[in-house]
């Protein structure tokens, strides 16, 4: 069994702009980086059958989700020439307009960061055991399903 410590990529509640700013600031000491690409997922107030989504309540199979995030990050480092790669996903309630996903890669040259962030984002949507309960303005709900 692989006993290495797996990073916790799950964040309680929405991801704040301050967290993103701090994360960017921490990379300013890495002067071999030439470009960063950041993807942010934001909860949409979709209208479904006349009702509006006011929040998504995210749940996850925590241990497996963190293992999958770790595998995706490792795969990205093998595929692309990266300096850094980070993944943060919300758990719990995230209101419409708030951020639920933060993918951040950095590289010497921009092409690698562009490709890695996109790859990681698509992999998370396809493989991470994260579940989303879309809560409507009348307190009813439905379960979100990634396409």
């Amino acid at each position: 069994m692989d006993k290495k410590k797996i990073k916790n990529s799950l964040v309680d509640g929405p991801i704040t702009p301050e967290k993103i700013a701090n994360s960017i600031a921490h990379h300013q000491v890495k002067t071999n980086i030439g470009g960063h690409d950041i993807f942010l997922g934001q909860v949409r107030a979709d209208e479904i059958d006349g009702k509006e989504v006011k929040a998504i309540d995210y749940s996850a199979y925590d241990e497996m989700a963190n293992k999958i995030f770790d595998e995706i990050r490792e795969a990205a480092f093998e595929k692309f020439d990266l300096t850094c790669g980070h993944i943060y996903h919300s758990k719990g309630l995230v209101k419409a307009g708030e951020l639920c996903l933060f993918v951040f890669t950095s590289s010497k040259h921009r092409a690698m960061a562009f490709e890695a962030t996109r790859y990681i984002t698509e992999e998370i949507k396809a493989k991470a055991p994260v579940f989303g309960k879309e809560i409507f303005d009348d307190e009813s709900h439905q379960w979100k399903v990634n396409q």
């Binding site: 241990e63 497996m64 379960w143 399903v145």
Partner: protein, 78 residues
């Protein structure tokens, strides 16, 4: 031998619980699933995957009987 079962999202809604311990001689994921469908008929409406010890497996995966088995409805991350 006791399986530790974990339910998420709409599966947890259908079973009414997030986890439970289950005794019984289930030789494969397929057999376990048949047992759970009898217990929770609503599960039949859900397109779920099964993870054994955090790895997604096929229905013919053989169980030893002490694993952690999770029923995972469609993913919604990102």
């Amino acid at each position: 031998m006791t399986l530790k079962l974990k339910y998420f999202g709409m599966v947890a809604e259908a079973s009414g619980k997030e986890e439970e311990l289950l005794d019984g001689a289930f030789l494969s994921v397929q057999e376990l699933e048949e047992g759970l469908l009898l217990k929770y008929p609503n599960l039949s409406e859900i397109n779920f995957k099964v993870a054994v010890n955090q790895n997604i497996v096929e229905r013919d995966f053989k169980l030893k009987g002490d694993e952690e088995v999770a029923l995972l409805p469609p993913f919604a991350g990102g």
